[in-house]
Protein backbone atom coordinates (compact mmCIF):
# COMPACT_ATOMS: atom_id res chain seq x y z
CA UNK A 1 0.00 0.00 0.00
CA UNK A 2 1.27 3.44 -0.81
CA UNK A 3 2.52 5.51 2.11
CA UNK A 4 -0.42 7.77 3.00
CA UNK A 5 0.76 9.61 6.12
CA UNK A 6 1.62 13.30 6.03
CA UNK A 7 5.01 13.90 4.44
CA UNK A 8 7.51 16.63 5.28
CA UNK A 9 7.35 19.84 3.31
CA UNK A 10 10.91 21.19 3.11
CA UNK A 11 11.45 24.85 2.40
CA UNK A 12 14.52 26.60 1.03
CA UNK A 13 16.20 26.86 4.44
CA UNK A 14 15.62 23.29 5.55
CA UNK A 15 16.14 21.45 2.23
CA UNK A 16 19.75 20.50 3.20
CA UNK A 17 18.43 18.94 6.42
CA UNK A 18 15.95 16.79 4.51
CA UNK A 19 18.57 15.93 1.90
CA UNK A 20 20.81 14.82 4.79
CA UNK A 21 18.10 12.54 6.12
CA UNK A 22 17.86 10.92 2.72
CA UNK A 23 21.60 10.18 2.98
CA UNK A 24 20.99 8.84 6.51
CA UNK A 25 22.67 11.81 8.13
CA UNK A 26 21.07 13.84 10.92
CA UNK A 27 22.22 17.42 10.42
CA UNK A 28 22.03 20.08 13.11
CA UNK A 29 22.72 23.78 12.90
CA UNK A 30 25.93 24.62 14.74
CA UNK A 31 26.58 28.22 15.82
CA UNK A 32 30.33 28.53 16.58
CA UNK A 33 30.27 31.82 18.50
CA UNK A 34 28.05 30.35 21.22
CA UNK A 35 29.30 26.77 20.71
CA UNK A 36 25.62 25.91 20.37
CA UNK A 37 23.68 23.28 18.43
CA UNK A 38 20.15 24.41 17.60
CA UNK A 39 17.03 22.58 16.43
CA UNK A 40 14.55 23.22 14.89
CA UNK A 41 15.87 25.56 12.19
CA UNK A 42 16.29 29.24 12.88
CA UNK A 43 18.27 31.86 11.01
CA UNK A 44 19.56 33.20 14.32
CA UNK A 45 21.19 31.68 17.41
CA UNK A 46 18.90 32.32 20.35
CA UNK A 47 21.89 32.41 22.71
CA UNK A 48 23.94 35.27 21.29
CA UNK A 49 21.86 36.34 18.24
CA UNK A 50 24.64 35.33 15.88
CA UNK A 51 23.57 34.55 12.31
CA UNK A 52 26.77 32.70 11.50
CA UNK A 53 26.31 28.93 11.45
CA UNK A 54 27.00 25.69 9.61
CA UNK A 55 25.38 22.28 9.27
CA UNK A 56 27.06 19.59 11.36
CA UNK A 57 26.24 15.94 11.49
CA UNK A 58 24.84 14.71 14.80
CA UNK A 59 26.16 11.46 16.23
CA UNK A 60 22.49 10.52 16.49
CA UNK A 61 22.68 9.47 20.13
CA UNK A 62 20.50 10.66 22.96
CA UNK A 63 17.94 9.75 25.55
CA UNK A 64 14.17 9.82 25.90
CA UNK A 65 13.30 13.15 27.51
CA UNK A 66 9.61 12.31 27.62
CA UNK A 67 7.11 10.21 25.68
CA UNK A 68 3.40 9.54 25.17
CA UNK A 69 1.08 7.02 23.52
CA UNK A 70 -1.20 8.59 20.95
CA UNK A 71 -4.70 7.14 21.00
CA UNK A 72 -6.70 9.92 19.39
CA UNK A 73 -7.08 9.83 15.64
CA UNK A 74 -6.41 13.27 14.16
CA UNK A 75 -5.55 12.12 10.65
CA UNK A 76 -7.09 9.00 9.05
CA UNK A 77 -3.75 7.63 7.87
CA UNK A 78 -2.77 6.74 11.44
CA UNK A 79 -5.74 4.47 12.02
CA UNK A 80 -3.79 1.19 11.79
CA UNK A 81 -1.00 2.47 14.06
CA UNK A 82 -3.04 3.74 16.98
CA UNK A 83 -1.88 3.72 19.70
CA UNK A 84 1.63 4.72 18.66
CA UNK A 85 4.56 6.03 20.66
CA UNK A 86 5.73 9.60 20.33
CA UNK A 87 8.78 10.91 22.10
CA UNK A 88 10.98 13.88 22.65
CA UNK A 89 14.60 12.78 22.41
CA UNK A 90 17.37 14.86 23.90
CA UNK A 91 20.39 14.52 21.67
CA UNK A 92 23.82 14.36 23.27
CA UNK A 93 24.65 17.58 21.38
CA UNK A 94 21.91 19.37 23.38
CA UNK A 95 18.86 19.93 21.16
CA UNK A 96 15.64 18.06 21.76
CA UNK A 97 13.73 16.53 18.82
CA UNK A 98 10.14 15.35 18.54
CA UNK A 99 10.15 11.90 16.98
CA UNK A 100 8.71 8.38 16.87
CA UNK A 101 10.17 5.57 18.96
CA UNK A 102 10.42 2.31 17.06
CA UNK A 103 11.65 -1.22 17.70
CA UNK A 104 10.82 -1.07 21.40
CA UNK A 105 7.85 -2.55 23.31
CA UNK A 106 5.92 0.18 25.13
CA UNK A 107 6.59 -1.51 28.49
CA UNK A 108 10.28 -0.75 28.05
CA UNK A 109 9.91 2.94 27.24
CA UNK A 110 10.82 5.35 30.01
CA UNK A 111 12.35 8.76 30.57
CA UNK A 112 16.12 8.40 30.31
CA UNK A 113 16.11 5.42 27.91
CA UNK A 114 19.23 5.62 25.74
CA UNK A 115 18.35 5.75 22.05
CA UNK A 116 19.96 6.21 18.66
CA UNK A 117 18.62 7.52 15.40
CA UNK A 118 16.94 4.99 13.08
CA UNK A 119 16.39 6.36 9.59
CA UNK A 120 13.11 5.29 8.05
CA UNK A 121 12.93 5.67 4.26
CA UNK A 122 9.18 6.12 4.17
CA UNK A 123 9.08 7.01 0.45
CA UNK A 124 11.64 7.34 -2.33
CA UNK A 125 11.75 11.02 -1.62
CA UNK A 126 11.58 11.22 2.18
CA UNK A 127 13.38 9.72 5.15
CA UNK A 128 12.22 10.30 8.73
CA UNK A 129 14.64 10.42 11.70
CA UNK A 130 13.03 8.00 14.13
CA UNK A 131 14.76 6.61 17.20
CA UNK A 132 15.26 3.13 18.69
CA UNK A 133 16.97 1.80 21.81
CA UNK A 134 20.77 2.18 21.62
Amino acid sequence: MAYDKPLPSPDENTQPFFDGLKDHKLLLQYFPSADHYQYPYSDRCYKDWSTDWEWRESAGNGEVYTWVRMHQLYHPSWKAEIPYTLAVVQLDEGPRMHTNLVNVPVEEVHVGLRVKVAFDDVTDEFTLPKFEPA
Partner: protein
Protein backbone atom coordinates in the same frame (compact mmCIF):
# COMPACT_ATOMS: atom_id res chain seq x y z
CA UNK B 1 5.98 45.08 52.64
CA UNK B 2 3.47 45.43 49.84
CA UNK B 3 3.44 47.76 46.84
CA UNK B 4 1.37 50.98 47.10
CA UNK B 5 -0.89 49.81 44.26
CA UNK B 6 -2.16 46.90 46.38
CA UNK B 7 -5.94 47.18 46.75
CA UNK B 8 -6.08 50.41 44.72
CA UNK B 9 -7.88 48.79 41.80
CA UNK B 10 -10.70 46.28 41.55
CA UNK B 11 -12.81 44.12 39.31
CA UNK B 12 -16.21 45.78 39.69
CA UNK B 13 -18.23 43.92 37.08
CA UNK B 14 -18.39 40.34 35.90
CA UNK B 15 -20.33 38.97 32.94
CA UNK B 16 -20.45 35.23 32.22
CA UNK B 17 -22.53 34.16 29.24
CA UNK B 18 -24.24 30.85 28.74
CA UNK B 19 -21.39 28.35 28.26
CA UNK B 20 -20.62 25.25 26.24
CA UNK B 21 -22.51 23.86 23.30
CA UNK B 22 -24.35 27.07 22.57
CA UNK B 23 -24.75 27.24 18.81
CA UNK B 24 -25.79 29.79 16.25
CA UNK B 25 -23.68 32.70 17.47
CA UNK B 26 -20.20 33.97 16.71
CA UNK B 27 -17.54 35.23 19.10
CA UNK B 28 -18.66 38.87 18.71
CA UNK B 29 -22.16 37.96 19.83
CA UNK B 30 -20.87 36.21 22.96
CA UNK B 31 -18.59 39.19 23.65
CA UNK B 32 -21.61 41.47 23.39
CA UNK B 33 -23.55 39.34 25.86
CA UNK B 34 -20.65 39.27 28.33
CA UNK B 35 -20.13 43.05 28.37
CA UNK B 36 -23.88 43.65 28.67
CA UNK B 37 -23.99 41.33 31.70
CA UNK B 38 -20.85 42.86 33.23
CA UNK B 39 -22.07 46.44 32.86
CA UNK B 40 -25.39 45.45 34.43
CA UNK B 41 -23.58 43.59 37.22
CA UNK B 42 -21.52 46.68 38.01
CA UNK B 43 -24.52 48.99 37.80
CA UNK B 44 -22.87 51.07 35.11
CA UNK B 45 -24.08 52.43 31.78
CA UNK B 46 -22.68 51.52 28.41
CA UNK B 47 -21.19 55.00 27.99
CA UNK B 48 -19.16 54.61 31.18
CA UNK B 49 -16.94 52.06 29.44
CA UNK B 50 -13.86 53.94 28.25
CA UNK B 51 -11.44 51.05 27.91
CA UNK B 52 -11.66 47.82 25.90
CA UNK B 53 -9.14 45.00 25.93
CA UNK B 54 -9.90 41.87 23.98
CA UNK B 55 -8.47 38.36 23.81
CA UNK B 56 -9.83 36.00 21.19
CA UNK B 57 -9.55 32.28 21.80
CA UNK B 58 -8.96 29.66 19.14
CA UNK B 59 -11.34 31.47 16.78
CA UNK B 60 -8.73 34.23 16.74
CA UNK B 61 -6.44 31.80 14.94
CA UNK B 62 -9.23 30.78 12.58
CA UNK B 63 -9.88 34.37 11.53
CA UNK B 64 -13.34 34.62 13.10
CA UNK B 65 -12.29 35.82 16.56
CA UNK B 66 -12.91 39.14 18.27
CA UNK B 67 -10.44 41.94 17.70
CA UNK B 68 -10.38 45.72 17.44
CA UNK B 69 -13.55 45.88 15.27
CA UNK B 70 -15.45 44.75 18.37
CA UNK B 71 -15.45 48.44 19.32
CA UNK B 72 -17.67 49.22 16.34
CA UNK B 73 -19.91 46.21 16.93
CA UNK B 74 -20.47 47.33 20.52
CA UNK B 75 -20.76 51.03 19.67
CA UNK B 76 -18.17 52.07 22.24
CA UNK B 77 -17.51 55.71 21.43
CA UNK B 78 -15.70 56.88 24.54
CA UNK B 79 -12.62 54.70 24.45
CA UNK B 80 -9.39 56.01 25.90
CA UNK B 81 -7.79 52.58 26.00
CA UNK B 82 -8.07 49.85 23.35
CA UNK B 83 -6.04 46.77 22.55
CA UNK B 84 -6.09 43.22 21.29
CA UNK B 85 -3.87 41.15 23.55
CA UNK B 86 -2.57 37.63 23.30
CA UNK B 87 -0.19 35.61 25.41
CA UNK B 88 -2.62 32.67 25.16
CA UNK B 89 -3.86 31.41 28.53
CA UNK B 90 -1.91 34.11 30.36
CA UNK B 91 -3.74 36.92 28.55
CA UNK B 92 -6.73 37.31 30.84
CA UNK B 93 -4.59 38.22 33.83
CA UNK B 94 -2.40 40.40 31.61
CA UNK B 95 -5.51 42.31 30.45
CA UNK B 96 -6.63 42.91 34.03
CA UNK B 97 -3.09 44.00 34.91
CA UNK B 98 -2.88 46.48 32.03
CA UNK B 99 -6.35 47.75 32.89
CA UNK B 100 -5.44 48.11 36.57
CA UNK B 101 -2.38 50.23 35.81
CA UNK B 102 -4.39 52.30 33.32
CA UNK B 103 -7.23 53.12 35.72
CA UNK B 104 -4.80 53.71 38.59
CA UNK B 105 -2.99 56.34 36.56
CA UNK B 106 -6.06 57.96 35.05
CA UNK B 107 -5.79 56.66 31.50
CA UNK B 108 -9.31 55.23 31.74
CA UNK B 109 -12.06 54.79 34.33
CA UNK B 110 -13.78 51.54 33.44
CA UNK B 111 -11.91 49.02 31.30
CA UNK B 112 -13.83 46.04 29.93
CA UNK B 113 -11.56 42.99 29.50
CA UNK B 114 -13.20 40.40 27.29
CA UNK B 115 -12.37 36.82 26.35
CA UNK B 116 -14.74 35.36 23.78
CA UNK B 117 -14.65 32.19 21.72
CA UNK B 118 -17.04 30.11 19.63
CA UNK B 119 -15.11 27.19 18.15
CA UNK B 120 -17.77 24.52 18.65
CA UNK B 121 -19.90 23.72 15.64
CA UNK B 122 -23.11 21.74 15.80
CA UNK B 123 -22.29 18.11 14.93
CA UNK B 124 -18.51 18.64 15.25
CA UNK B 125 -16.27 17.29 18.02
CA UNK B 126 -14.23 19.36 20.48
CA UNK B 127 -11.15 17.70 19.00
CA UNK B 128 -12.10 18.93 15.55
CA UNK B 129 -12.64 22.42 16.94
CA UNK B 130 -9.15 22.60 18.43
CA UNK B 131 -7.04 20.03 16.58
CA UNK B 132 -8.28 21.39 13.25
CA UNK B 133 -6.54 24.70 13.79
CA UNK B 134 -3.16 22.96 13.59
CA UNK B 135 -3.81 21.26 10.27
CA UNK B 136 -2.82 24.08 7.97
CA UNK B 137 0.16 22.23 6.55
CA UNK B 138 3.35 23.50 8.21
CA UNK B 139 6.57 23.69 6.19
CA UNK B 140 10.22 23.23 7.07
CA UNK B 141 11.10 21.27 10.19
CA UNK B 142 7.67 21.94 11.65
CA UNK B 143 6.30 19.70 8.92
CA UNK B 144 7.95 16.78 10.69
CA UNK B 145 5.36 17.06 13.47
CA UNK B 146 2.39 15.73 11.49
CA UNK B 147 4.79 13.36 9.69
CA UNK B 148 5.57 11.77 13.06
CA UNK B 149 1.92 11.92 14.13
CA UNK B 150 2.09 14.80 16.63
CA UNK B 151 -1.18 16.71 16.77
CA UNK B 152 -2.67 19.28 19.09
CA UNK B 153 -2.11 20.73 22.53
CA UNK B 154 -3.15 17.47 24.18
CA UNK B 155 0.06 15.88 22.94
CA UNK B 156 2.34 18.71 24.06
CA UNK B 157 0.90 18.72 27.55
CA UNK B 158 0.88 14.92 27.77
CA UNK B 159 4.61 15.00 27.03
CA UNK B 160 5.15 17.51 29.85
CA UNK B 161 2.92 15.48 32.19
CA UNK B 162 4.76 12.24 31.53
CA UNK B 163 8.07 13.75 32.49
CA UNK B 164 6.59 15.16 35.69
CA UNK B 165 4.85 11.87 36.53
CA UNK B 166 7.93 9.72 36.04
CA UNK B 167 10.09 12.11 37.98
CA UNK B 168 7.83 12.25 41.03
CA UNK B 169 6.04 8.90 40.87
CA UNK B 170 2.65 10.44 40.09
CA UNK B 171 0.07 7.96 38.76
CA UNK B 172 -3.02 8.19 36.62
CA UNK B 173 -5.05 7.58 39.76
CA UNK B 174 -3.46 10.75 41.17
CA UNK B 175 -4.50 12.76 38.11
CA UNK B 176 -7.96 11.25 38.54
CA UNK B 177 -8.15 12.62 42.08
CA UNK B 178 -7.77 16.14 40.67
CA UNK B 179 -10.44 15.51 38.02
CA UNK B 180 -12.98 14.06 40.48
CA UNK B 181 -12.33 16.83 43.02
CA UNK B 182 -13.08 19.54 40.50
CA UNK B 183 -16.22 17.81 39.31
CA UNK B 184 -17.55 17.85 42.86
CA UNK B 185 -17.24 21.61 42.83
CA UNK B 186 -18.83 21.86 39.37
CA UNK B 187 -21.91 20.02 40.60
CA UNK B 188 -22.67 23.16 42.66
CA UNK B 189 -21.77 25.67 39.93
CA UNK B 190 -24.78 26.80 37.86
CA UNK B 191 -22.41 28.14 35.16
CA UNK B 192 -20.73 24.75 34.75
CA UNK B 193 -21.25 22.53 31.72
CA UNK B 194 -20.41 19.19 33.39
CA UNK B 195 -22.42 18.78 36.58
CA UNK B 196 -22.85 15.01 36.84
CA UNK B 197 -20.85 13.65 39.80
CA UNK B 198 -17.78 11.58 38.90
CA UNK B 199 -15.98 8.68 40.55
CA UNK B 200 -12.39 7.54 40.14
CA UNK B 201 -13.80 4.53 38.30
CA UNK B 202 -15.44 6.87 35.79
CA UNK B 203 -12.09 8.57 35.39
CA UNK B 204 -10.23 5.34 34.70
CA UNK B 205 -12.96 4.21 32.32
CA UNK B 206 -12.84 7.36 30.24
CA UNK B 207 -11.04 6.74 26.97
CA UNK B 208 -7.41 7.52 26.41
CA UNK B 209 -6.69 10.64 24.39
CA UNK B 210 -2.91 10.81 24.57
CA UNK B 211 -1.62 8.53 27.29
CA UNK B 212 -1.04 9.54 30.15
CA UNK B 213 -4.20 11.61 29.57
CA UNK B 214 -7.66 10.16 29.69
CA UNK B 215 -10.54 12.22 28.34
CA UNK B 216 -11.24 13.34 31.92
CA UNK B 217 -7.73 14.80 32.24
CA UNK B 218 -8.50 17.31 29.48
CA UNK B 219 -10.35 20.59 29.64
CA UNK B 220 -13.61 21.25 27.88
CA UNK B 221 -13.95 23.29 24.74
CA UNK B 222 -16.62 25.95 25.18
CA UNK B 223 -18.48 28.57 23.26
CA UNK B 224 -19.03 31.62 25.42
CA UNK B 225 -17.48 34.80 26.76
CA UNK B 226 -16.42 36.36 30.04
CA UNK B 227 -16.08 40.09 30.65
CA UNK B 228 -14.49 41.67 33.69
CA UNK B 229 -14.64 45.42 34.25
CA UNK B 230 -11.67 46.98 36.01
CA UNK B 231 -11.79 50.32 37.80
CA UNK B 232 -10.22 52.09 40.77
CA UNK B 233 -10.99 50.95 44.31
CA UNK B 234 -12.50 54.36 44.99
CA UNK B 235 -15.05 54.02 42.18
CA UNK B 236 -15.66 50.33 42.80
CA UNK B 237 -16.68 50.93 46.40
CA UNK B 238 -19.89 52.74 45.42
CA UNK B 239 -21.04 50.42 42.67
CA UNK B 240 -23.80 47.83 42.69
CA UNK B 241 -21.77 44.65 43.24
CA UNK B 242 -19.01 43.89 45.74
CA UNK B 243 -15.57 44.60 44.33
CA UNK B 244 -12.83 42.01 44.03
CA UNK B 245 -9.81 44.13 44.89
CA UNK B 246 -6.60 43.48 43.01
CA UNK B 247 -3.82 42.91 45.51
CA UNK B 248 -1.10 41.32 43.47
CA UNK B 249 -0.10 41.00 39.83
CA UNK B 250 2.73 39.18 38.15
CA UNK B 251 3.90 37.49 35.01
CA UNK B 252 6.56 34.91 34.21
CA UNK B 253 7.32 33.59 30.77
CA UNK B 254 9.90 30.81 30.58
CA UNK B 255 9.15 30.13 26.91
CA UNK B 256 9.85 26.76 25.43
CA UNK B 257 13.41 26.07 24.37
CA UNK B 258 13.92 22.54 23.07
CA UNK B 259 17.40 22.22 24.47
CA UNK B 260 19.16 20.37 27.28
CA UNK B 261 19.90 23.63 29.08
CA UNK B 262 16.19 24.29 29.74
CA UNK B 263 13.96 21.98 31.77
CA UNK B 264 10.45 21.54 30.40
CA UNK B 265 7.55 19.83 32.09
CA UNK B 266 8.59 20.18 35.68
CA UNK B 267 8.69 23.97 35.81
CA UNK B 268 6.32 26.75 34.78
CA UNK B 269 6.24 30.55 34.82
CA UNK B 270 4.26 30.46 38.07
CA UNK B 271 7.45 30.52 40.10
CA UNK B 272 8.44 33.95 38.78
CA UNK B 273 4.93 35.34 38.34
CA UNK B 274 3.92 34.18 41.82
CA UNK B 275 6.94 35.71 43.51
CA UNK B 276 6.22 39.06 41.84
CA UNK B 277 2.52 38.98 42.78
CA UNK B 278 3.13 37.84 46.36
CA UNK B 279 5.58 40.69 46.83
CA UNK B 280 3.15 43.28 45.47
CA UNK B 281 0.37 41.94 47.68
CA UNK B 282 2.60 41.55 50.74
CA UNK B 283 1.47 37.96 51.21
CA UNK B 284 2.98 34.52 50.85
CA UNK B 285 1.85 30.98 50.09
CA UNK B 286 0.71 30.46 53.69
CA UNK B 287 -1.79 33.33 53.37
CA UNK B 288 -3.59 31.90 50.31
CA UNK B 289 -7.17 30.82 51.08
CA UNK B 290 -8.44 29.86 47.63
CA UNK B 291 -6.67 28.95 44.39
CA UNK B 292 -8.20 29.30 40.95
CA UNK B 293 -5.58 27.71 38.72
CA UNK B 294 -5.45 27.38 34.98
CA UNK B 295 -6.29 23.71 34.44
CA UNK B 296 -6.08 22.90 30.76
CA UNK B 297 -5.16 19.45 32.10
CA UNK B 298 -5.21 17.82 35.55
CA UNK B 299 -1.43 17.76 35.50
CA UNK B 300 -1.23 21.53 35.06
CA UNK B 301 -2.96 22.03 38.42
CA UNK B 302 -0.41 19.92 40.32
CA UNK B 303 2.49 21.66 38.59
CA UNK B 304 1.00 25.08 39.36
CA UNK B 305 0.36 24.33 43.04
CA UNK B 306 4.01 23.48 43.47
CA UNK B 307 5.34 26.45 41.50
CA UNK B 308 3.37 28.84 43.72
CA UNK B 309 5.08 27.31 46.73
CA UNK B 310 1.91 25.72 48.10
CA UNK B 311 3.53 22.26 48.12
CA UNK B 312 7.02 20.91 47.60
CA UNK B 313 7.90 19.62 44.11
CA UNK B 314 6.09 16.34 43.53
CA UNK B 315 3.91 16.74 46.62
CA UNK B 316 0.89 18.72 45.39
CA UNK B 317 -1.12 15.54 45.09
CA UNK B 318 -0.91 15.28 48.89
CA UNK B 319 -3.44 18.13 49.13
CA UNK B 320 -6.11 15.91 47.52
CA UNK B 321 -8.14 13.21 49.27
CA UNK B 322 -7.53 9.59 48.31
CA UNK B 323 -11.13 9.34 47.15
CA UNK B 324 -12.57 12.78 46.46
CA UNK B 325 -15.94 11.25 45.51
CA UNK B 326 -16.42 10.26 49.15
CA UNK B 327 -18.92 12.81 50.52
CA UNK B 328 -16.95 12.93 53.77
CA UNK B 329 -13.71 13.80 51.98
CA UNK B 330 -12.46 17.31 52.59
CA UNK B 331 -11.59 18.98 49.30
CA UNK B 332 -8.72 21.39 48.78
CA UNK B 333 -9.97 24.93 48.05
CA UNK B 334 -8.57 24.75 44.53
CA UNK B 335 -10.64 25.35 41.38
CA UNK B 336 -13.80 25.80 43.37
CA UNK B 337 -16.08 26.20 40.36
CA UNK B 338 -14.91 23.03 38.61
CA UNK B 339 -12.32 24.82 36.51
CA UNK B 340 -11.76 24.31 32.81
CA UNK B 341 -12.01 20.56 33.33
CA UNK B 342 -15.65 20.69 34.39
CA UNK B 343 -17.13 24.19 34.23
CA UNK B 344 -16.15 26.10 31.09
CA UNK B 345 -13.04 26.78 29.03
CA UNK B 346 -12.56 30.50 28.67
CA UNK B 347 -8.74 30.36 28.75
CA UNK B 348 -7.46 32.60 31.58
CA UNK B 349 -10.90 34.03 32.28
CA UNK B 350 -12.08 30.74 33.77
CA UNK B 351 -9.91 31.07 36.88
CA UNK B 352 -10.41 34.84 37.15
CA UNK B 353 -14.21 34.65 36.89
CA UNK B 354 -14.42 32.06 39.66
CA UNK B 355 -11.88 34.07 41.64
CA UNK B 356 -14.13 37.14 41.48
CA UNK B 357 -17.15 35.06 42.52
CA UNK B 358 -15.31 33.61 45.50
CA UNK B 359 -13.85 36.98 46.54
CA UNK B 360 -17.34 38.46 46.46
CA UNK B 361 -18.73 35.59 48.48
CA UNK B 362 -21.34 34.88 45.82
CA UNK B 363 -20.41 31.23 45.22
CA UNK B 364 -23.63 29.83 46.70
CA UNK B 365 -23.29 26.16 47.66
CA UNK B 366 -19.68 26.10 46.55
CA UNK B 367 -18.62 29.29 48.38
CA UNK B 368 -15.49 28.88 50.48
CA UNK B 369 -15.94 30.57 53.83
CA UNK B 370 -12.47 32.06 54.24
CA UNK B 371 -11.84 34.04 51.08
CA UNK B 372 -9.43 36.83 52.05
CA UNK B 373 -6.73 35.89 49.57
CA UNK B 374 -7.72 34.36 46.22
CA UNK B 375 -4.83 33.36 43.97
CA UNK B 376 -5.64 33.11 40.24
CA UNK B 377 -3.34 31.82 37.53
CA UNK B 378 -3.27 31.90 33.75
CA UNK B 379 -1.04 29.68 31.70
CA UNK B 380 -0.33 29.73 27.98
CA UNK B 381 1.49 27.73 25.35
CA UNK B 382 2.83 24.55 26.93
CA UNK B 383 3.74 26.18 30.24
CA UNK B 384 5.45 28.93 28.16
CA UNK B 385 3.60 31.97 29.50
CA UNK B 386 2.09 32.68 32.91
CA UNK B 387 0.09 35.41 34.60
CA UNK B 388 -0.94 35.85 38.24
CA UNK B 389 -3.68 37.85 39.95
CA UNK B 390 -4.24 37.96 43.67
CA UNK B 391 -7.78 39.11 44.51
CA UNK B 392 -9.37 39.99 47.83
CA UNK B 393 -12.76 41.13 49.15
CA UNK B 394 -10.83 43.64 51.26
CA UNK B 395 -9.38 46.92 50.04
CA UNK B 396 -6.71 46.75 52.74
Amino acid sequence: MSDPIRGQTAICGLGITEMGKVYGHDASWFAGESIRLAVEDAGLNKDDIDGLLVNPGITGMMGTGISIPLQGYLGLRNLRLLNHMNSFGATASAMVQYAAFAVHHGMANYVACIFSDAPLQQGGSAGAAYGGAGRRGPTGMASLMPAFGFYGANTSYALAARRYMERYGITNNDLGRVSVTQRRYAVDNPHATMRQPLTLEDYHNSRWIVEPFHLLDCCLVSNGAVCTIVTTAERARDLKSSPAYVWGMGQGHPGNFPHAEVEVGTTSGATIAGETAYKMAGVGPDDVDICEFYDCYTYTVLRTIEDYGLAKPGEAIGLYPEDPADPEAELPTINTGGGQLSSYYMWGMTPISEGVIQARGSGGDRQIEKNDIVLCSGNGGTLDTHGTLILSPNAN
